[in-house]
Amino acid sequence: MSAPELTTIQPLKKELPGAVRRLAWMFLGLGALVMMLAYGMDAQRSAYNNIILFLFLASIGGGSIFLVAIEYIGGAVWSVPIRRVTEFLGGITPVVPVVAVPLLLNLHDVFHWTHPEAVQADPVLAGKSPYLNVSFFVFRFLAIFALWSLFYLFFFRNSTRQDLSRNQRLTTRNIRLAAIFLPVFAVTLTLTAVDWAMSLEPHWYSTIFGVYYFSGTVLAAVAATTYVVVKFQEKGFLPNLARDHLYSLGALLFAFVNFWAYIAFSQFLLIWYANLPEETYWFMARWQGGWEYFSVLLIVVHFAVPYFALLAQDAKMNPRRLKLMALWILAAHMLDLYWLVMPNYSETFVFGWMEIGYPFLAAGMIMILLSYMLRRYNVVPVGDPKLQRGLEFRL
């Protein structure tokens, strides 16, 4: 039952196996190729896919920073040995705006409100134009990602510096940083969701939409962390974690699967109940033309399957089950974003090579990020004053 001593986890910087690194570059190349071809052949459809990719990576990045901040501000002990994995994943945040560059060049294809003549002819859009206009939109996008990246860099620098200096004050500094970051994150994540997903249908509004995206965001970040932690542990990169650590990750996954379902149903229930035409048509678009099967599939994939797969106590501690469900949930989050975005592109259900190709880009980017981070930084925050207690954590 005794936890490994600190001295046994001294080997620090690791390297992903060559095969994995090659696979990562292949994914990235394949994804980039698909993206270029897609923009060449059908720029509009490609741009919609690009939004899904962008929101997915923003989920992983923003969600990871959120998890790190929550862990600091809550004084979490159990997660200290695996915190660096989440911090690695948060490193995607400064890269995400790059993915959005082709989108910014094709805003007219996806955002109806970017057409001045359409806005002028439409009193609703005209009323919203002080917020929904291209220059303010781009400004918000840049400001949000600048903020997130800045916070991320501060968090990460304090954390990695502690590896050498073992200065406890760096933890205090990160706790303060987290206290500032969390309210900022609440607002900026909502704005991101409203800007990039809700404004695809600029007449429609749902006040819970930001929370809906947030539930998926945190779920995706927890799933990515879980998958990488289990994988790293198999490779021996991380010190021996107890079943209690895995159980905590599994419980978080389970909790956020339920949270997502709760929020998704709340959004649906209120709109269904009020039955106002200006709100219900958004759901109607997802309940016809083949999308209705996809909507049901989303409930099964995003809620029912992970719910039953993670319900049992043993399932939450089983590394193989966790790995499978983490990947499953990441795919489910992709489907969720697909469900949010694509009905705006086509009234009938569409799925093709573009939709298959784009996720490879996300996978490749994250794998390369991990490989880079592993080589440069310690995979365990060895200087964290709570590390030993974290390793000894038992439920």
Partner: protein, 380 residues
């Protein structure tokens, strides 16, 4: 009073959670099955050390949860489909999304409350609250800062000397026997004990009584009276304040209702035709308004197009057509007079249709008349 003959079991105290886990493992290795561990807080890993089977409370929770889900959905289905079908908000009677929050809450409520209750009854043998370990020094210590183990005497491997030796061997201190209570031998469930049932009944009656009293009496005390008692008179109430005993007062003589203008030509249709002029212009809005009022108030007798062919024909003195030469040649004031005062069996509508609406109706009647007797130029 404790009996001092056969002991219930032998207890031992330990100082740390690691020691107690080690002790439990050793006790299991020696083949003991009837023993228990008492700790001041839940020690994790203990169920593994004691080789306990997975708890069966989960199955209780599942059963009660299903009971809650099925009964709540079933009840709502029965209410909305069988007992009192009611269309709400234009939705189907059986609107399952509305059931989800209720079914969820009932499921969680029954699953948690009933499984705790059944755990207390099945495992703790409630209402039998006595246990030989109660009120012992051992229990006092394990409730504060020690970890204890108790090997029961009814274990097939039990032998007092050997047990003492075993517990000493794993580091136990204060190894002592525990005896049964003198008057209450533990074990027998007392769920149907008359005393228990009596208390249960008393509790039920008291709860029901207090609930009834609270909702029907206390709620109407000051200051919770919900403002239902006020120092004012409701309409139609008597009052001793006024000499005639009637609470409602007639308005002061000469009072005129806001916006009321008396009709100047009561009983003088010729003068009405001569002096009254339609104050409204026949704009589209006015005609539409007139149409709406006409369809509401006039069409039941005069028919939708003023032909006097409503469904009342034959059941009632036939209402005249509005397309007769007489009505067509009438000035607006005459029509206004008839609407206001009535004519023959037609009652006056002055109190039901506002002045402006009456004039709007007249415009609409003119539109109908023109449509029925269109001029050549209208058809071009």
């Amino acid at each position: 009073m404790k009996r001092q003959d056969t002991p219930y079991g032998i207890t031992a105290l330990f100082e740390s959670p690691d020691q107690i886990i080690h002790a439990a493992e050793e006790v299991v290795r020696k083949g003991f099955t009837r023993f228990d561990v008492n700790t001041p807080y839940p020690v994790h890993g203990m169920d593994g050390a004691m080789k306990l089977k997975p708890s069966r409370v989960g199955f209780f929770a599942l059963a009660f949860g299903l009971l809650g889900a099925i009964s709540s959905v079933g009840f709502m289905t029965w209410v909305t489909l069988v007992d009192y079908p009611l269309v709400i908000g234009g939705k189907p009677c059986w609107s399952w999304p509305a059931f989800v929050p209720v079914a969820f809450e009932i499921t969680v409520l029954l699953a948690s409350v009933l499984s705790v209750l059944s755990m207390i009854v099945v495992y703790f043998k409630f209402p039998n609250v006595s246990h030989p370990l109660h009120d012992t020094d051992y229990m006092k210590r394990v409730s504060s800062d020690r970890f204890g183990i108790c090997i029961q005497a009814d274990d097939p491997h039990f032998d007092e000397a050997q047990v003492r030796q075993l517990l000493k061997g794993v580091g136990g201190e204060e190894i002592r026997p525990v005896f049964f209570e003198e008057e209450e031998p533990a074990g027998a469930p007392k769920l149907f004990d008359p005393r228990f049932l009596g208390v249960l009944l008393l509790t039920a009656v008291a709860t029901a009584g207090i609930t009834y009293f609270s909702f029907n009496v206390v709620l109407y005390w000051e200051p919770f009276s919900w403002m239902s008692e006020q120092a004012r008179l409701n309409a139609q109430e008597p009052s001793s304040l006024f000499p005639n005993g009637v609470g409602m007062r007639p308005p002061v003589k000469g009072t005129v209702a806001r916006g009321f203008v008396p009709y100047a030509f009561a009983g003088r249709p010729e003068d009405a035709g001569k002096y009254l002029r339609n104050p409204l212009l026949p704009t589209e809005d006015v005609v539409q308004r007139g149409r709406k009022r006409y369809l509401t108030f006039c069409s039941p007798c005069h028919g939708n197009f003023g032909q006097g062919n409503s469904r009342l024909q034959g059941q009632f003195p036939n209402p005249p057509t509005l397309h007769s030469d007489k009505v067509r040649d009438w000035p607006d004031g005459n029509v206004y007079h008839v609407i206001t005062e009535g004519q023959n069996v037609m009652p006056g509508y002055g109190s039901q249709i506002s002045r402006e609406d009456r004039w709007a109706i007249i415009h609409y009647i003119r539109v109908l008349q023109r449509a029925h007797n269109a001029k050549e130029s209208d058809l071009k």
